[in-house]
Structure formats: structure tokens, C-alpha cells
């Protein structure tokens, strides 16, 4: 059993989990939701083992680095963070149907990592710029943030679907009826954004400190840095609007979606379209 087989099992678990969560949304059967959660938990456990195994495999190859160094590894880590964050959210707030809006993201990330052309699954040696302990702190803080923002984006979509059903007077319609109340979704969006924002801030700060330790400059305005500050501002504005202008509901839901698009571009767009200090992320 090697790490890529385990990642395959993980993908399958996440896929089935998504199916069951969507089943919960459609059929409103609680048992279906429990199976969805169980599959997500099994998936995340298998993935944890697989990440540890890949780490160990890299040592066995004489390379020896945390599995956080290229597009494949970062996608896998992204889906791990997102699922873990979602399980925590479900445990804490009992908003089970949210899984139907979150788990598909993790399946997409895993599937893209495994099947897309040009994404190498090989464990390769670290380029000099990444040979530092800051790598782990920087990537983990950023990706916990990304994971939370993915969940917030899913919640935003959920809010808008529910809202449009409420506006049309179709609350009892099968899909919208199984969604939580608007007030609860709104609160969850806010909490998730706050959580993600703190981690993104920490991620940007660890990045700046690392840059200073490695190159003697905190900030070089490379595309990844610029886009991460744009993302930071989107979420900062969202929180600011809520705190000082009392924004809530649809406007915040839209901002959660816009914010996630910005995260998506910071993550993918920059890696594939713009070259800079973070270019190694594309291979």
C-alpha cells in the first residue's frame, strides 16, 4: 500500500460522501447525512495516513521534505484542510446539509490533482528557495485559511439559493426546505470568514517573515503576494462592512463567493498564468 493508492481511496470516499450529502439535501433523510459524514471522516483519516506515508516516502527516497511543495501536494493538502474544517463545523454547529456544498470542492481538488495533465505526482527534491522550516508554517497557515474560505463560498451559495426560494415563497420546496434558516447560514458565513481571515493573515505574515529570512526583504510584489493581499482586502472589506455598516445576508453571501473566487485565482490563476517567486507551485 503506497500513498497514491490511499489518496485514490480518499478521493472515492469524498466522492461518495458528496453523493450522500446531496442525497440528504434532496431526500431529507437523516441516515443518508450520517453516512455522508462517516465517509468524510473515513476519507480524512485515510488521507492523513496517506500524507504521513508520502512524507515518509520522501525520506525513503533520500529527499526528505513535508508533502507541501508542488501543485499536486498542495491540492491534496487543500482538500484535507477543507474536509477537516468542514467536519469541525458540522460537529460544532450541526449544520449537516452544508456538506452538499463543501464536499464537491474537495472531490474536485482531489480529482484534478490526480487526473489533470501537467500535474506531476512525483516526489521531487526541494528547490533551494523552499529549503526552510518556514515552509511548513507558511503553507499550513495559508491552506487552513483557503479551506475555511472554500467552506464560506459554499455557504454563500447555499444562502443565495435559500434566499431566492424564500423570496419566491417556495420555502417548502424540497431543496430549499432542507437548508438551514437564513439567519443560521448568515452567522456561519461570518464565523467561517473570521476564522479564515485570521489564518490568511497569519499565512501572509509567516510568508513575509520567511521572505525576510531568506532574501532580506519582506515583500517583493510578486503576483502571488499581490493577489493574496487583494484576497485579504476582499475579506477585510467584508468584515468591515459587517461590523461598521451592519451588512449581512445576501450582500455578505455574495462577498463570500467573490472572496473565494479571489482565493481561487490566488491559488490557481497565479500559478498558471503569472510567473514569479511562487512559480514552483505550477508543476
Amino acid at each position: 500500500m503506497n500513498s497514491s493508492q490511499l489518496f485514490g481511496i480518499t478521493t472515492l470516499c469524498y466522492l461518495l460522501s458528496s453523493v450522500f450529502y446531496i442525497g440528504l439535501l434532496v431526500f431529507k433523510n437523516k441516515k443518508v447525512g450520517t453516512i455522508g459524514l462517516a465517509l468524510a471522516i473515513i476519507g480524512v483519516l485515510v488521507q492523513t495516513v496517506a500524507l504521513g506515508l508520502r512524507w515518509q516516502e520522501s525520506y525513503a527516497l533520500g529527499i526528505g521534505h513535508a508533502p507541501l511543495t508542488n501543485m499536486y501536494e498542495s491540492l491534496v493538502f487543500f482538500s484535507w484542510c477543507t474536509t477537516l474544517f468542514y467536519i469541525f463545523l458540522e460537529y460544532k454547529y450541526k449544520a449537516r446539509v452544508v456538506g452538499a456544498f463543501v464536499m464537491p470542492f474537495t472531490v474536485a481538488a482531489m480529482a484534478y490533482a490526480s487526473f489533470a495533465k501537467g500535474i506531476s505526482q512525483q516526489i521531487s527534491p526541494l528547490i533551494p528557495a523552499l529549503q526552510s522550516n518556514w515552509l511548513i508554517a507558511h503553507v499550513i497557515t495559508c491552506f487552513i485559511g483557503y479551506g475555511a474560505f472554500a467552506v464560506a463560498g459554499g455557504l454563500g451559495m447555499m444562502y443565495l439559493i435559500k434566499k431566492s426560494a424564500v423570496n419566491k415563497g417556495k420555502e417548502q420546496d424540497s431543496l430549499a426546505a432542507s437548508l438551514p434558516e437564513l439567519r443560521i447560514i448568515d452567522d456561519l458565513i461570518h464565523k467561517t470568514i473570521v476564522f479564515g481571515f485570521m489564518w490568511l493573515s497569519a499565512g501572509i505574515i509567516t510568508g513575509a517573515i520567511w521572505a525576510n529570512e531568506a532574501w532580506g526583504t519582506y515583500w517583493s510584489w510578486d503576483p502571488k503576494e499581490t493577489w493574496s493581499i487583494i484576497t485579504w482586502f476582499v475579506y477585510a472589506s467584508t468584515l468591515h462592512a459587517r461590523f461598521t455598516r451592519g451588512w449581512s445576508g445576501s450582500r455578505i453571501a455574495w462577498l463570500a463567493i467573490i472572496g473565494f473566487i479571489s482565493v481561487f485565482f490566488t491559488y490557481f490563476g497565479v500559478n498558471f498564468l503569472l510567473s514569479g517567486l511562487h512559480s514552483y507551485g505550477a508543476s
Binding site: S132, N212, G216
Partner: protein, 218 residues
Amino acid sequence: MPKTYLSKVTVLEDGKPVTLKDGKTIHYLEVNKPLTYKGITFYQSSYQPYPDFIVTVTNTATGISETLIIPAGKQIKWQEGGAEFGILNKESFGESVQRIKIWFTDRQGDPSTFWLNNAQEAIIKRPSAEYRMSVKQLYATGLQVTKDPGVWFVYTGCGMMLLGLFVAFFMSHRKIYAFVHEEDGQTKVLFTGSAHKNKVGFEKIFTGLVDGFRKKID
């Protein structure tokens, strides 16, 4: 893909090499391992390959050794060692030279010509003596130098920013009032409270307090 970018650095003070913190005079400067000396930090930042080569030759019979910087395609006369040599050809990957073709003679018999990997040593057996020779491409290193005594202010600022976010999001001004008064010969207690943010969270705490109070009385 390069494995590392490395510069061997020696700090000179009054023309003498300085012993650094680790007890050595040579520091191996790498991308994530800068050198700080008296508040000035040196970072490995770039490099530039040159068309010249650093050649070290030793006559093992006499023990005479010399290091020279030579361009390719030029015949070098090495009087002390009693030999002549030059670089005939080179194989490059981009600007980095991988292999070098050497021409070497001690003016006895046919000259030796052979390929040598960059930075590798060759032993040349000649009629007059045995020679050791290594050839390495010359590189310039680009170092970035900073003097940043305020770095701890910046780091403290970063820490305070995170702390500030925590305070802004998770702490709030909360006011709770209890109004004790008499009404129709009975003691009544009225609770009111307000929070300037996170009202949902405050509602939970407030209800918990009031419920606890009610239980105590009952």
C-alpha cells in the same frame, strides 16, 4: 534543477579573516541561511556564470601548485611547473559548463587531450612527472546586504496585528444590569444586557446566566 546556491564567504576585518560565531572563518551562504555579522546581514540572492575558468594545477613530483583564472582557447605557459595547458572545448547547459576538454603538455611526447567534468580533478601522467589538475567554471555571486535593526519592531507589529484581530473579533464590551425592586410586596429582579458586537454569542451567555440565577433561587 539546481540543488543549492552556495557561496563560501569570509569576513575580513583589517585584512584578517574573522572567526564567526560557529568558530569557523568560512561561512557557507545559502538561500535560507544568511550570514549576520555586526548587524549586517548577507543573503544569497543571484549568480552569474562567466566564460572563464578557475584552474588548479599541481606538479606532484615537485609539489609546486598554482591556481589561475583563464579563458577558453588560450595556451597557458606554466614555467614553475614545467608545463603548458589550455581549454580546447566545452559543453554547456545554458550558461553552465558541464564538461571541459583540456589540452596538456610538458613538452615531452604527444600532448594529452581529454574531457573533464566541471570541478572534477584529473591525474595526468606525463613522462616528466605526474600532474593533478582541476577546472571549474568561474561564477559571480550576487549577495543582498541589509542592515535592518528594526526587524523586531516589524515582527512585534505582526504579532500585535494578529492579537488585534483576535481582540476585534472575539472580545466585546458587554454590559449586564440587574435591577432589584419591590413590586406588590415581592422582590423582583430584572436583568438586561447589551453587547456592541457578536450579539448572537452574547445572547447565549446572557441566557445561561439568567437560567443559572433562576435555578439557584428555585
